[in-house]
């Protein structure tokens, strides 16, 4: 007996059930995605992509709807993002991007987890101390969503490395700690003509910004003259601030990858968690 084509097989395995709001829908469970991927010799991402093309929602994304439409969910699966840094910001971002169903996530970090990371870094745990951050990130991504192609780079990137790392990516995400490597990343994103979503934290102060190609990076400006100790060395890097920053960055990255307009293009969102005050600052009109 000949095998039905993939589209037909997906329809046969799909389950009709309502969305949480009662609207009828058709869903494909992860077990079916895995079976079909094996049967047809395809990556699971392609099975999910084919399901979405037939208006069938992979069940794991059901609660992404209607924050994202089925068409936007398909765009996320087709999208690729470069995540530079897999520590405090990067750990939270990885979680958001992988659960969100971003098809390709390329992550880089040359660090190993150490005890001082445990206060805030989602990928840091007791069992992982001494393990490369990129390796833990790969394991986490695979454990959550095997449809995501997570490309781990266990190493730090110099300026040339940043350029190579961003090749073919739709969006770059600055999840670096410290100032040293941020200018090279901003420059690489500019040269690749892709948006850069950036964030930084010091104490309970957070800034998140989206830099479109050709625009100045506010994080470079906010770093000041940086002659003495950096503010986070004095003020610390507490978990609520880091997780707030990564959640906001993740929101902006998903918007961009889904094909929506960025909310923070040319702007910085400056948050004072001490007073729960949020201000949006326009960096395109900077008079410096």
């Amino acid at each position: 007996m000949s095998q039905p084509d993939l589209g037909q097989a997906i329809k046969e395995r799909a389950t009709a059930m309502p969305y949480p709001d009662g609207t009828p829908g058709r869903f494909l469970e992860t077990a079916a995605v895995t079976d079909l991927a094996q049967t047809y010799g395809l990556p699971p991402k392609q099975v999910e992509r084919a399901a979405l093309a037939a208006d069938i929602c992979p069940l794991r994304y059901a609660r992404n709807l209607r924050a994202f439409s089925l068409a936007e969910q398909a765009r996320l699966l087709d999208a690729s993002v470069a995540l530079i840094g897999l520590g405090g910001l990067g750990g939270g971002l990885l979680e958001i991007l992988v659960r969100g169903g971003v098809g390709t996530v390329r992550g880089a970090d040359g660090d190993l987890f150490e005890e001082s990371n445990l206060n805030r870094q989602l990928l840091a745990d007791m069992a992982g101390l001494g393990v490369p951050k990129a390796r833990r990130a790969a394991a986490r991504a695979a454990a959550i969503n095997p449809s995501v192609d997570f490309q781990a780079h266990e190493g730090f990137l110099d300026a040339d490395g940043m350029m190579a790392f961003l090749d073919g990516m739709d969006v770059a995400v600055d999840a670096l700690g410290g100032l040293k490597d941020r200018p090279a990343l901003a420059e690489a994103a500019r040269k690749r003509h892709i948006p850069l979503v950036t964030a930084a934290v010091a104490g309970y102060t957070v800034i998140v910004a989206t830099v479109l190609p050709g625009q100045p990076s506010p994080v470079e400006m906010l770093a000041g003259n940086a002659a003495g100790p950096s503010a986070e060395e004095v003020l610390g890097c507490p978990s609520p601030a880091v997780m707030t920053a990564s959640a906001l960055q993740g929101t902006e990255v998903l918007r961009l990858l889904a094909g929506r307009q960025p909310a923070l293009a040319g702007k910085g969102l400056i948050i004072d968690l001490e007073t729960m005050r949020f201000d949006t600052v326009d960096f395109t009109g900077a008079s410096r």
């Binding site: 700690g177 941020r182 934290v201 000041g224 940086a226 326009d282 008079s287």
Partner: protein, 74 residues
């Protein structure tokens, strides 16, 4: 003149920065930071009405000055 202040640099003493600050006419953003006892090295960026400015930028009555520490952690 009186300006509005949002100082994200923690104070060195026990007293938080005020929400409003009275300054002589012609005072600059740097003058305001000095009046608040925020040293230059503790400042990453000064914002006047949500736009980054240098220390020598003049202030006007009811301007809003935001003082942000240098910030690069993650």
């Amino acid at each position: 003149m009186i300006i509005r202040v949002h100082c994200l640099v923690p104070p060195e003493g026990p007293v938080a920065a005020p929400d409003r600050l009275e300054l002589p006419s012609g005072a600059t953003a740097g003058d305001a930071a000095d009046t608040l006892h925020v040293p230059p090295e503790a400042i990453g960026t000064l914002l006047r009405n949500d736009v980054p400015v240098e220390r020598n930028a003049p202030l006007a009555h009811d301007d809003r000055l935001t003082i942000i520490p240098p910030i690069s952690g993650g």
